[in-house]
Symmetry: D3
Subunit: 155 residues, 6 copies
């Protein structure tokens, strides 16, 4: 397996995401973190900010590239000549949604294989939404996100 795509909103990246990127990087030569343009949801951080935060937070992991993408994941997948899509799985609700998306993507391109990885148990409850909620209420998010994200959220 040479190239894996790790797609998501990453608004912002948290330690669970970083854990998955690190695990994927051990298995592939190249991990492309694919940051989705999201027209429906308003994101807290702009695309440029999200890409910059991921780059800063994953700089120590070899083989990681960060790219914005718009449109269908299958098109990005083909353009990157990727071998698989990587997704983290935390719990059953995740699984339902992820299972559905993986089937949709496979129905659009039979070659798009989705591989599911488990993040470390430490991060099993983490989501970008929870990071933003705790930060907004003045809670300490030191355990949840890398230092660059913590600073960015403080602003």
């Amino acid at each position: 397996m040479k190239t894996a795509i790790y797609p998501g909103s990453f608004d912002p990246i948290h330690n669970g995401h970083l854990d998955v990127i690190g695990r994927a990087a051990k298995l592939c030569d190249r991990v492309v973190v694919a940051v989705a343009v999201n027209h429906a949801k308003t994101s807290l951080f702009s695309m440029e900010e999200r890409v910059a935060l991921i780059r800063a937070a994953s700089a120590h992991i070899p083989g990681v590239e960060v790219k914005a993408f718009e449109g269908l994941l299958v098109d990005f997948f083909r353009a990157e000549r990727a071998d698989a899509v990587i997704r983290g799985l935390r719990a059953v609700s995740d699984f339902e949604y992820e299972f559905q998306m993986a089937l949709v993507n496979r129905s659009l391109d039979e070659d798009l294989e989705t591989l599911f990885l488990m993040p470390s148990q430490k991060h099993i409850y983490l989501s970008s939404r929870i990071v933003k909620e705790v930060a907004a209420l003045g809670g300490d998010i030191e355990r949840f996100v890398p230092e660059v994200v913590r600073e960015a959220l403080r602003k």
Copy 2:
């Protein structure tokens, strides 16, 4: 069982819905597809469009009627002198929600029986939301919806 109600938003109807309608029509003399007026969510297609698309897509299935309804399902159920409500089940997340709604409806009318059908495995991942997302991103939805809906989405 003479009359079954198949309620939903159908925004728009997709092949999973059609599969359920076909299966229900084999079991009942009359299947009333009940298109819900949804004040909260903004629908992509108007009520008239949704009804017209279902009629066109289900024209080949005998015993199907398509009606708009507003208000409580129990009232529509009684007005149609129906024997049961039909719902399709795809996955666990579906089941939780469907189970809850079936219990609510039964608590409002002890005679409202909900019957759950499984659509074909081919359609296990399909939802109106996914059809709209893939279409909006320029993906091919040929496998997902009948031809009339495909044309309507192209506009």
Copy 3:
């Protein structure tokens, strides 16, 4: 819908089963309770006892027949010229197993449609295994089973 099959082990029949039979009987002209010969599991009651208990407990519900069956459900289904198989759904773990069996049966016979019904909330926790466990430990099973079963378990 004329004939529905309601298959199971019924070792012994409990109030949740009876609730499903009653609901099915309102929707169909004929409900065939199909008692499975189970070679793998040792049953507490013999086939003759299980059939007799179901007959006694469902005598007041019109249109109910009780039959033993051996072999594949699809063969019994065809022999009875049934329209559908009825199953009760209590919770998610039920759903997983039931979903799997319904797909297996459909793969063996495309015409075998499985309809899922919800028993009354009162019976949501009931299973034959629990009835036997509580009875074996000397607990009162009055709420769980019809009177004939209670007497049979006392012996």
Copy 4:
């Protein structure tokens, strides 16, 4: 266990909530119903109305206090010198979300213990959202909420 916190939006309080409060009050000297200020979601009832409705509906249960709270639950928990947080569990989808929140809260304060209680089976399908939907559609919510809430919703 002296003090338990029962946090939520209570927009409005329903019979499932009241059932949990009653059960918690049997186990603790003091149950603090903590009504969350919700900046994101627009609530049907104002904070003052929600607090007043809970007070009226729980007046017959000894040891219950009703308080508004803003900010992180962990801060409110410490300020109240509480022993545990109480949450009702209805179904699997509840469980996923509740499990996640309990882990987040424990990560913010190792002493914040979350205890889960089951409401009565009668209320297993109830949620504030469903109460509001049924009331908005003109349905009878007598089974769902205490009389004071029913009157408040009529307006």
Copy 5:
């Protein structure tokens, strides 16, 4: 809350059990670990061994008593004049089963309240079955069980 019962097979006790006992002991004056006589399943350790291992492993936690019990949990619950039953929850499959047992117990005695606690994330995958399997295959179970159990399993 004065007395809580923590029932189980404890064949053998592991770190997830101990974690739950420690959390329960902070909330109650007295935690009675109730070791079930299991006629159906053959246990690896005898009742005497299981009780002795729990006593040794929980000696440092104040307020813990260990007792064997036979028969219905509701009868033991009444005899101990307990306020609640405590159960640990690890995942959805747990939840289904636990939910069912809690409803059965409540149907046998309306006063039997079941409280669910989450063990530490560290122990989220632990079960007695897994401890025994890993030990039988020669794996290191240092992370899974207290030292006394490790020694007992070595024999």
Copy 6:
């Protein structure tokens, strides 16, 4: 990713297993199908038969090796200098169990990464147990297993 282990009982191999092997072989240079010696469960086919059936059924897929293994998966994983363990995911009940085993394995060896793949929707209901049950009842298992297994089951 060079080497992936695909462990299981394979009693016998079915089309869902073969589908996963084919997908894994596209991503890795070498897929080691690891057939577990199972002391607890009595298998229908002997270890030699299971290995021979997998070899025959997967002969057309390049890079596949079939090996028996006994003891802990982590030891086999290290001996094979594997990069990851591959598991197929069919449904939620699968996921719970697979999640637990993946966490146990990771706790025994931090380097043991488990990757989850989805088999084709066509095989979503398949399990070795179901294949054996249908075959034992005289059903047609042509859709479920490769031809060599069908012949082996006929005997």
